[in-house]
């Protein structure tokens, strides 16, 4: 018997038992639906992550730490004391070694690195404008590798930083400082107040003891204050795919260093940095540079590593959803076995007749397996189509609710994975149909055609 005839006959048999076929297919459809959504969500999340990283992270950027264990959560437990190495205790109880100026200089000198920016620790008191109240702030170092949404004013292009006396402010400060609008704030001056408690050196103490000027004591122990003035160069908004929280003001590297040095002068943290970002020159593979730096004892993470980390999270979540889909499929497999057994019993006569007319057991078996495959096909297509329709119609709402940003979709449906899914479902259904099909193939035509 020809395969095409078997396929057509199988389809006709299912058509004659519409209700049963649909109900059995629905079980598979549930699995197909879940798996389609899982695949779409996984793809969507990956693409979103990629968009997120490509708009926020320069692929040439390396994150460098003194401590190799930094990217694994920091070392826990006691470490050997080294007076030359500064250690920062982290909130999780672990402690990490810090980079010092030597490290920074060493890295900066490398021929494959174009620039190094340490993460400066600056604890500003407040920011204010002329005739305005004082407000708290966070200071970020301007990152020339990131594209930002500019509301007013202008920022230099990629790889170029703002000037030493320039500042980029988030939108929130415009109204706080009483500017009419974002445009009118451009070119205005703001000032940031830094304070530090002085650390008195031995020389200074001896000097004090030698003299008897009490006013100089109070002068030395007095809290030192310093105001830094900046010109507003741009007001930035927050793009949907932005990782950077924009309650932070941005100043350039030199200004950050100056302020950081002032803040930490005389303390253990002076010119010590937990992490630094370095830009690898164009055309050089960051992974190569990473390898060399790691050999020198640094902890290094590339943009790709970060992507891999995020993908791991996405994969895990996707895995869970796929697990549920597979569970639904296992259930549906028993449904198919059951339905097909009943079908074989119901059609004993038909099977007997076909065998009497010379149909081979192999072909009878194939006929029933093809019926199961049809059920798998119908269920798979049904589930996938519902998933696609539902997904596409819900996508705008999901994007809106999760504020993913215009043009980003959480669910991205692709033809090939769905086609493969349907094929796999057909194979699974066929395997499920194996036992009933074997029963049909073994049926004795004489017994089947006995008339009483």
């Amino acid at each position: 018997m020809k395969l095409i005839d078997l396929i057509r006959r199988a389809a006709r048999s299912l058509k004659h038992a519409k209700a049963r076929t649909i109900l059995t297919s629905l079980a598979i459809a549930v699995g197909a639906f879940t798996l389609t959504i899982a695949l779409a969500a996984g793809e969507g999340a990956k693409q979103y992550t990629e968009t997120l990283l490509s708009t926020n992270v320069d692929p040439q950027v390396l994150a460098i730490t003194k401590d190799k264990s930094f990217f694994e959560g920091g070392q826990t437990g006691p470490q050997e004391y080294n007076p030359d190495v500064s250690v920062l205790t982290r909130s999780n109880g672990g402690s990490v070694k810090q980079l010092d100026q030597n490290d920074i200089d060493k890295i900066a000198k490398r021929s494959d690195i174009s620039s190094v920016t340490p993460s400066y620790v600056i604890n500003p008191k407040y920011i204010t404008a002329i005739d305005a109240k004082k407000y708290t702030l966070q200071i970020d170092t301007y990152d020339a590798g990131v594209t930002q949404e500019v509301i007013a004013g202008s920022l230099p292009g990629l790889q170029t930083s703002i000037k030493d006396d320039q500042i980029a402010l988030p939108e929130a400060y415009v109204s706080l400082f009483g500017f009419k609008d974002a445009e009118s704030s451009i070119g205005e001056t703001v000032s940031i107040r830094l304070e530090r408690t002085p650390t008195i050196s031995q020389d200074q103490i001896e000097q004090l003891l030698a003299g008897s000027d009490t006013s100089s004591i109070s002068q030395l122990t007095e809290v030192q204050k310093k105001d830094y003035e900046f010109e507003i160069v741009a007001i930035v908004g927050r793009s949907a795919t932005s990782l950077a929280a924009s309650s932070n003001v941005q100043i350039n590297n030199n200004a950050s260093k100056e302020m950081s040095d002032f803040s930490t002068e005389g303390t253990d943290s002076y010119q010590k940095y937990t992490i630094a970002t370095a830009s690898v020159k164009e055309g050089i593979d960051p992974a190569e540079v990473k390898k060399e730096l790691v050999d020198e004892g640094y902890g290094v993470q590339t943009a790709k590593d970060l992507q891999g980390l995020l993908f791991t999270i996405v994969d895990t979540l996707q895995g869970i959803v796929i697990g549920f889909g597979v569970l639904a499929l296992i259930t549906s497999v028993f449904g198919i076995i059951n339905t097909q057994y009943i079908s074989v019993l119901e059609r004993t006569r038909e099977i007997g007749l076909m065998k009497a007319l010379g149909m081979r057991g192999k072909h009878v078996s194939r006929l029933f397996q093809l019926e199961a495959a049809w059920i798998g096909f119908i269920g798979g297509v049904l589930g996938a189509v519902i998933a696609v329709i539902l997904g596409l119609s819900l996508n705008p709402w999901i994007t809106d609710t999760l504020s993913l940003g215009e043009g980003n979709n959480l669910l991205i449906f692709q033809v090939i994975p769905i086609a493969v899914l349907v094929l796999v479902l057909m194979v699974i259904a066929m395997l499920a149909g194996y036992f009933p099909a074997r029963k049909a193939a073994k049926l004795d035509p004489i017994e089947a055609l006995r008339t009483e």
Binding site: R12, G352, P445
Partner: protein
Amino acid sequence: MISVENVSKIYGKKQSVFQALDDVSFTIPDGASVAIVGKSGSGKSTLMHVISGLDRATSGKVVIDGVDISKLKQKVIDKFRSEQIGFIFQAFFVQANESAYENVALPLEIYGMSLNKRKKMVQSALKVVGLDDKEKQKAKNLSGGQKQRLAIARAIVNSPSIIFADEPTGNLDTVTGATIEKLLFDLNKKAGSTLIIVTHDQELANKCDIKIFIKDGKIEKIIGGKK
């Protein structure tokens, strides 16, 4: 020519053996019409199964056109049935949900006939039994007589050399039964295929060239044929 030589058929094992056929021998010339007559349980159906290759004899030979089918592999027997044999049953066994066309096409599908040839053969078979206007009708919408005619069309569609009819008129009223009988005998005469009717109906048996009476698995008497 069909030659049945010392065929025995035993069902069951040890304590519960049942001898359905006991040393049965006879020959049927090509193109003859034969009635296998006997009461229910006499072994007439078993005999039909053994000759048609649906069942195997425990001992003895069934030689059809020089080939002992009891020695053939299952695959070859299946092929032999799909090529050489047509079946007509008392309960019709037409597929109720399928159209008349699909019902008649079944043996050709099993044989692996190409779609074009199949169409012509099905249509001519339906024409022979006078159902050419019911091609697209579902079998369940046909009357009893029409169903049996459909079954006949299915039996003759691949021009078999032997047609088995198991109580072909058993489920039909006298008038319809008579037309079916006439159809069967006409086909036997025109197409030259051997017709073997299994029946307990003496009247139907009398219309056949050869009558084989069977009782308790043994041949009681054979009327007609050579010698």
